[in-house]
Amino acid sequence: MVTIEFLGPIQKAPITLEASSLRDVAGALKSDSELAQWLENCAVAVNDTLVATLDTPLKDGDKVSLLPPVCGG
């Protein structure tokens, strides 16, 4: 199982699911209509490191974070 957490303004509790790569996560999240607006503009981190490809492998216990558009300062 991997945990998906939603940062900042995405008002959603973490979820857990079975996934062996980010591609599996993308497939699962697409069915959630609440998230549709966020998938297009969120960056993704695995275990707190930003990643660039859906082929990123995942293993049991990994944490996937969705980071929406930022505005610090």
């Binding site: 303004p9 969120c42 859906l54 929406p68 558009p69 930022v70 610090g72």
Partner: protein, 148 residues
């Protein structure tokens, strides 16, 4: 050094402490950038969410990039509510030479705005509203929205 505070920053304490801390580092230029909440659009203030693990990694990468130039970086940011005319952000560079300091502070602040995992909300009429229109998608964003 990265410092996070609940609520507004104590700017005099921070910028003078940083100045004192580096007395014996033989720098020639110190440039703090101080960000203060403007009164506009009828807001009472701003509020911030900060995701520390990635913010720390981002800051440490910048510190490593500045080191070969002889430069040191410091940063402070608020979590939670910061009212109009209070300050929420300080980024600072120390370096032996002025050109490095001027170029580094600009790049550091601009990359901060584009990349640091911090989310801003307007405090208005008792609500906390995500500042979507002023926010920037992090480079590489949209991964999960691509065709699987």
């Amino acid at each position: 050094m990265l410092e996070l505070y609940d609520g507004a920053l104590n700017v005099p304490e921070i910028i003078t402490r940083w100045y004192a801390e580096e007395t014996n580092y033989n720098y020639g230029a110190y440039i703090p950038f101080i960000g203060t909440v403007r009164e506009e659009d009828g807001i009472d203030g701003l509020s911030f969410d900060v995701y520390e693990p990635i913010l720390n990694a981002w800051f440490n990468a910048w510190q490593a990039k500045a080191a070969p130039l002889g430069a040191k970086l410091k940063m402070a940011h608020s979590r939670g509510d910061v009212l109009v005319h209070e300050s929420s952000y300080i980024a600072a560079v120390f370096s032996p030479k002025r050109r490095v300091a001027l170029e580094t502070i600009e790049q550091f602040v601009e990359d901060f705005k584009a990349s640091a995992p911090i989310w801003k909300y307007d405090l208005k009429n008792g609500e906390r509203l995500y500042a979507a229109d002023r926010s920037t998608a992090i480079q590489g964003a949209g991964l999960l929205g691509r065709d699987v």
